[in-house]
Each structure stands twice: as C-alpha cells, then as structure tokens.
C-alpha cells in the first residue's frame, strides 16, 4: 500500500477565522500530526490562489490525502473534492474540518480556547482522512421531467422556462385556477402594468404549451426516490397518478396576513380595509375617498412575527401614487415605522409619491396609531416620531398594510419532500448566498414567496434561477451520487437480517449465497443513512466514509492530546 501523505490547509477566511483562531499555531500543530507531510495557511483556501496552492502542494509533496480546515462542508465540500480530483487525488480522500461556523464564529473573543479547539478538530480530521479509502462516484440518470408545485407567477415562470427548453413539466396547483396571489392585484410595480393583463398572458402561454401538463385542483400526495428518479404521486379528485420525475421545484407561494378582527377597527368598521382589498376596489372602480390613511407594518416586525415582508412599503407607495393620480386633491398619509423601498425603481416610486404630495409619518411600536370613530373610522391619532408630537388626521378610508405569511400546508409539503422550513414556516434554502434557490437535497429547488416574501419581479427572477438549476441537471442527463452507501464484509456477516429490518429503502436484503445467509446491499437504492451499520452486531455492515473504524478514530483523536 502507498504510504499515507497528508496535506493540511488552514483557511484564514479573511479575518473570519484568523481573528479568533491563531491559524499559524494550527499549522505548526498540524505539522506534528501523524502522516502530515505539509501544512499551510491560506487567506482564502476557496479562492483561485488557494485552490492552486492545494494542487501545487499535492504535486510538490506527493500528497495523497487532503484536509481543509475552513468553513462548512455544506457549502464548500464539492469544490475542494473537485480540486483534489483535478490534482490526481481521489475526491473521497478528502476531509473537511469546520473551524469557522463551529469554532471561530462561536468563540469570537476567546482566542486561546478557540485555537486549542481548532487544533483538536484538525487532529480529528487528520485521524479520519488517514483511514479513508478511494471511492468512485455512482452515476445516476436524470429523467428529463420536472414537477412544479404551485401555479402562481413563480411556478408558471419556472414551468415555461423549462418547457421552452424541451423538458416535460407537471404543474400542480391546489386551487381551481392558475395565478396565485397575482389574481388579487391591480397594478404592478415598477412598470405600473395591469396585473390581470400580465397574468392572463402568462396563464395563456402555460395552458397552450404542449409540454406543460397542468394538474388542478390537485395535490402532491407522495414523493419517493432520489435526484433524477423521483416517483411522484399527484392526486386530482379521487384519482392518484404516479409520475417519473427528474427534478422538483417548490413554488407554493404564501398568503397575505389577515389582521385580527378589531385591530385598528378591521372587520368592525366598514372603512378599514387591507391593501389587497384596496386593490380590489381599484379594479372595481370604487371611489377611495378624499382622505386616505395607510398604516404599514400591521402584523409585521412585532415580537410574534419578527421579519420584514420587504415589499409591502412599496405596495403602499404604489397605491398612494394611484390615488393621487386619480384625484390630485385627495390627501394620502402613509404611517410607517421604517420605509423599505429597495432598489432604484422603488426609490424612484417613493420620490414620485413625495412629489405628488403623499405624506409619510413615522410612528413607533410603543405608540401605535389609534383609530377614532364609532362604527366608522373618522380620524387617526398618531404620535409623529420625527416631529415629536401627536397629531390627529381626519380620514374617509384606512388601509392596513400587512405582510406575507407562510401557508400552514408548508409543513406537510416539507415532510413529503424532506426539505426544511424556517422558524416562520417558509422554505429554507441550502445557503442564503451560495445556493439561494436550491435545497441541500439534490434535485429539489425553491423560488418565489414560498421561500420568502418577494415582489413579483423578484419571484420571476428566482423562478428563472431555480428552473435554470433544474435544467442544468436535466440537460447533463446524469448526476453523481455521493458514495456514502452501505457495504458488507461478507466474511463476518452472520446473516441475522437486523440491517434489512431497519432499512427504510429496501436496499438491504438477506440472500442465500453458497449455502450461507449474507446481507446484500443494492447501492442504487441505498441513500446512505447508515442505520443498518448501527444495528450490525458483528460490524460486517459499514457505511462508506463513515465506517466504525473512521468514526472511532475521530473520537480517540479528541482525547489523544491530553
């Protein structure tokens, strides 16, 4: 066997790691670990220079194992594996040590403790990497079809993008019509186009597209399989049909928060409505009245719902402008807490509203506006935070600006797909910046307001991003599946069958071979949970990359330095 030669690369991550961990100390420490031939620091190991340095070191020092101590394997493991492979080291002879999320960031002002811990984490990584074995990726074919859950603007945009590239699309919508939230809107920022005309044109394209099969009203009842080879059950009425699906896009949207009865007189006073109801009035051509007061952040950025819904301020600005354009004599006051009008178009809309005479008054949560009136709102009392004084504004109409909130059904969808939700019930992407429209599970993507409150423009952009990611996979036609599957040491397998009992995927079966009962793994079915290996009494069943020997070596390495 080739002698083990390990290279250890310690990342500064700018100051993210280096400010809390003495990286030079970690390098010196690493050099003393068994089989470590070379150790160095990099300002950013993931940068082109860092990656080049890994490759050069592999060549110069004849390294055959690599340890990178930097951020999280959840975002950068594939990159470093690729680098190893390019330099001729098997991509699975690599171990990732997380000294940022799990060390420097959680021990910010304790350099000594953080450095000692980083040393120990590297020691564990080195112990594991020396026991790793080269593996081959398993290639699986990708079925060129996509399931899109949700027929709103995000789902439809993604569907059209994929169908136009020649992929078969199943679009599942739970309501009887396509369109989602857009069905209730009047005009769209920043172009001021008619929402229904825009929606109709998209719906028409979707309905007439020969590669898009629209299922409505329908639900996804079950999903099994893996990237490129999902088995999806779609339920329409009492019929459930199975489809073979390659990629899945979650575009289930969100709902507009309905204020509680009585909040600012809502549902008790006829002239207190929401922005969505105001847009309905615009579409009906109903008079909006001479004096309009809008109250922003109703149900948003409060202790029980902490987040900012990002575009509701712009909605208030948009509707304020519409009122002033229709009736320049009307008075429009927008009571806000902080004004979010991001991007140049929304900033321009804000400036336009100011020019048209829309008044903005800042209130705070300690002194919320009070509606005056009996049965009908007649005025609002508000403490102007900037002016430092309470004022009373007469009014004919109160419009409450409310945030988008997640659907309760998201939890069911998240369970069916095995993808995570945020604490607010929205879908949680793999990484906010590096993988914003993907889930950690390969082949499943997310876009639109299912992910986070977004404007129509942002939803469309995200839909293109998610569908482009799906298209890359389907165009390639195959995907590499991590070799983390179970395998059996036949010599010591007693054929007890514990493994096959706990396998959720029917990937292990006990077979009679040469008169002996032996567990046999079907790698294509194995998803790599390792449950079978945990119940094997003899240790015959193991998991690639997570063998008993490798894991115990890591445990031993923790206390070895004592």
């Amino acid at each position: 066997m080739q002698k083990i030669r390990i290279g250890v690369f310690i990342c500064h991550c700018g100051s993210n790691i280096a400010s809390a961990v003495d990286v030079v100390d970690v390098v010196e420490y690493s050099k003393g670990l068994p089989y470590v031939i070379h150790a160095e620091t990099n300002l950013y190991t993931c940068s082109p220079e860092g990656l080049r340095s890994i490759k050069n070191s592999i060549e110069q020092y004849h390294l055959n194992r690599v340890v990178v101590a930097s951020c999280t394997p959840r975002t950068h493991e594939a990159l470093f594996r690729d680098t190893c492979e390019e330099a001729g080291v098997n991509r699975y002879l690599f171990e990732f040590v997380n000294i940022r999320e799990h060390c420097s960031w959680v021990h910010l002002h304790r350099k000594e403790a953080a450095t000692a811990k980083a040393n120990e984490l590297v020691r564990m990584g080195v112990a594991k990497v020396s026991l790793l074995e080269p593996q081959d990726c398993m290639m699986v074919p990708i079925h060129p079809s996509s399931l899109i859950i949700g027929g709103g603007i995000s789902g439809m945009t993604a569907a059209l993008n994929l169908a136009n590239q020649g992929f078969e699309v199943h679009l599942v919508e739970q309501e009887t019509e396509l369109g989602g939230l857009l069905k209730g809107l009047n005009r769209l920022l920043p172009t001021n186009e008619d929402a229904q005309e825009f929606l109709d044109s998209v719906v028409k394209k979707v309905k007439n597209h020969r590669r898009i099969k629209t299922h409505l009203p329908a639900k996804v009842s079950q999903v099994s399989g893996y990237v490129g080879n999902f088995e999806v059950g779609i339920q329409e009425g009492n019929n459930e049909t199975q489809y073979q699906i390659g990629t899945i896009i979650v575009a289930t949207g969100a709902q507009v928060f309905q204020p509680n009865r009585g909040d600012f007189g809502y549902a008790k006073m006829a002239n207190v409505i929401t922005q969505l109801e105001l847009e309905e009035r615009f579409r009906q051509g109903t008079e909006t009245g001479q004096n309009v007061v809008m109250i922003n952040c109703v149900g948003a950025r409060i202790p029980e719902r902490f987040y900012c819904s990002t575009f509701c301020c712009s909605t208030a600005i948009k509707n304020g402008i519409l009122i002033k354009e229709q009736n320049p004599a009307a008075k429009v006051h927008i009571l806000y807490r902080e004004l979010m009008a991001y991007g140049i178009e929304y900033e321009n809309a804000y400036q336009k509203a100011l020019q048209l005479g829309v008044r903005f008054i800042r209130y705070n949560l300690e002194n919320p506006p009070q509606i005056v009136g009996n049965g009908r709102a007649t005025a609002v009392k508000v403490y102007d935070e900037l002016f430092g004084q309470e004022m009373e504004i007469p009014l004919d109409l109160v419009v409450l600006t409310t945030p988008l909130v997640s659907y309760a059904e998201n939890s069911l969808t998240s369970r069916i797909l095995k993808v995570p939700l945020t604490e607010d019930g929205f879908f949680l992407e793999a990484h906010l910046k590096l993988r914003p429209t993907e889930f950690a599970t390969e082949g499943i993507y997310v876009c639109g307001t299912a992910r986070w409150p977004s404007s129509v423009g942002d939803c469309v952009a995200q839909a293109y991003a998610a569908s482009a990611k799906a298209a890359i996979l389907m165009r390639k036609g195959f995907a590499a599946v991590e070799p983390i599957t179970a395998f059996v040491n036949e010599a010591i397998c007693a054929g007890c069958g514990n493994c096959s009992l706990v396998c959720p995927f029917d990937a292990v079966a006990v077979q009679l071979q040469k008169g002996r009962r032996i567990a046999v793994v079907t790698p294509a079915k194995c998803k790599g949970c390792g449950s079978c290996a945990a119940v094997c009494p003899s240790g015959a069943m193991q998991q690639k990359g997570f063998t008993d020997q490798q894991m115990i070596a890591m445990l031993d390495a923790i206390t070895e330095g004592d």
């Binding site: 959840r74 995570p420 950690a440 390792g530």
Partner: protein, 150 residues
C-alpha cells in the same frame, strides 16, 4: 478541583440534514458557545452506533449529545425514530456499566434552530459540569495503572 470548576468535554453527533445545519446557523448568527463541544457529522442520527457512545465515554469524554431531525422530518424517513429507541435502551445499559445515564442525551434540532442548538450545548455543558469527571474513565485508568505490565 471542585465539581463546579470542572471543565467537561463532550462530543455532539449531528445529522447532515437538520442539526448540522442548525449548528452552522448558530455560528452564522455568532451565538457564543462554550468551547467544550466537538461536533461530528453523520448523515443520519441513526448511524450513531451505541458502541461509539460507550467508546467516547471510555476514552475520557464526559458526555455524548446526539442531535437529529425532528420526529417526522427525518431525511431518511424514520432514522430518528430508531435513534430514539436505541438511546432509550442504551441509557439503561449505561447504568449497568456504572455511567450516569445523563451523560448521554438525544434531542432534535432543525436547520433553522441555531438558537436551540446553542441552548442545548450550553445546557449540556452545565449539566456535565455538575456531574463532574467521568468516573468510568477514571476507574478504568486506575485499573490500567494497577495492572502489572506483561
């Protein structure tokens, strides 16, 4: 050294899909944690073999915390249910071995629960500090010393 000053050290097994992401989030949120824990990533909490836990305690670690996805949210459908049963049985066996069962804990942390991860590891640190050094390890170390060298 009194038991309150004792600095315990423990290992946290995190599943790749939920709790490892939760631990990452604790870092991204810059939640400050005790430096006593070492996270080891497994694909699923059900991979954690009871032998590993005993091995960890015998090698001088003071505790083992196993974190998985919430019930019903396991990426592998039912792995965390197996883990739950396995840990329950193991805790009974630990008493037989003379190890305080509180040294082994199981909990659920989702990818969005960075704060819960921080809370759990701080809680574990405090509880292990209360328990003091792992006596099984100390006893075995003593026995090793007394054993004549062959």
């Amino acid at each position: 050294m009194t038991s309150t000053e004792y600095e315990p050290r423990f290992v946290v097994f995190c599943c790749n899909w939920c709790s490892y992401a939760g631990a990452d989030l604790a870092g991204v949120s810059r939640l400050q944690l005790p430096a006593n824990l070492r996270v080891i990533r497994v694909m699923c909490s059900s991979r954690v073999k009871p032998e590993w836990i005993i091995k960890a305690l015998r090698s001088g670690l003071d505790g083992v915390l196993i974190l998985g996805c919430h019930p019903g949210e396991c990426h592998y459908q039912e792995g965390n249910y197996y883990t739950r049963r396995r840990v329950a049985i193991l805790k009974k066996f630990l008493e037989y071995l003379g190890i305080e069962p509180q040294r082994v804990k199981l909990n659920w942390v989702s990818a969005s629960e960075g704060a819960k991860f921080a809370e759990l590891v701080s809680e574990m640190t405090n509880e292990l500090r209360e328990l003091g050094p792992n006596l099984l390890f100390a006893r075995e170390a003593r026995e090793r010393e007394q054993e004549p060298i062959k």
